[in-house]
């Protein structure tokens, strides 16, 4: 698979940035080439205008924004999904990476 760009978004982009570190570690371990980063939800749109984003994952705490995100990024064909609470709470980078890859297929 070509190099993919995964963007995580939550209220302040803070808790998701922790998960980013774990996902990067998981990607490295599996030999997956991916750019993974976190932003506050208010920054998400700007990012998609500046670079190509392949998949967007939302922190469970901003789940209520899923519809809005799907509407905004649906036209750009960027899949959006909410990270399950369990994986988020446990900071399970491996599972979340799997989720992102599943959305790309």
């Amino acid at each position: 698979m070509a190099k993919t760009t995964i963007m995580l978004a939550c209220a302040a982009g803070m808790s998701t940035s922790l998960l980013v570190t774990k996902m990067q570690a998981a990607a490295k371990k599996q030999g997956i080439e991916a750019t993974i980063f976190a932003v506050p939800v208010s920054e998400a749109k700007k990012q998609t205008e500046e670079q190509t984003i392949d998949v967007i994952l939302l922190g469970p705490q901003v789940r209520f924004m899923l519809d809005e995100f799907k509407e905004t990024f649906g036209e750009k064909q960027i899949p959006v999904e909410v990270i399950p609470m369990g994986d988020y709470g446990m900071m399970n980078g491996e599972n979340v990476l799997k989720l992102a890859q599943g959305l790309l297929k």
Binding site: A11, S15, P60, Q61, R63, M91
Partner: protein
């Protein structure tokens, strides 16, 4: 930060954030006149707050025992999430009532 503290902190972010998400969904339901769904979402929001409260209590209990939690920006951030969640749920309850009041007029 040790794994146990991280999980407690993530618990606050997750449950506090989820409570806010539920409250937001309650408002969306109330807006279209679905007050049963709105009340169910508010109930769920309160349950999430109770979960967050438990995580919080554990941290406070540990501190009282002398096991001071390491203060980081993330721990402060988690309190932020919890407080936003509590405030938001309280306000959403009032607004759902208001929507219902208006709908009956």
């Amino acid at each position: 930060m040790d794994e146990k503290t991280l999980q407690a902190v993530m618990g606050l972010i997750m449950y506090g954030g989820d409570a806010k998400s539920c409250a937001m969904e309650a408002l969306k339901a109330a807006k279209v006149g679905d007050f049963n769904a709105a009340r169910a979402k508010l109930k769920q929001a309160k349950q999430e707050l109770a979960n967050a409260h438990n995580a919080q209590t554990e941290m406070l209990t540990n501190e009282a025992k002398g096991e001071t939690v390491q203060m980081t920006l993330l721990t402060v951030h988690s309190q932020d999430h919890l407080m936003t969640g509590i405030t938001f749920v309280d306000l959403a309850e009032e607004l759902v009532e208001l929507y219902e009041y208006i709908a009956q007029k």
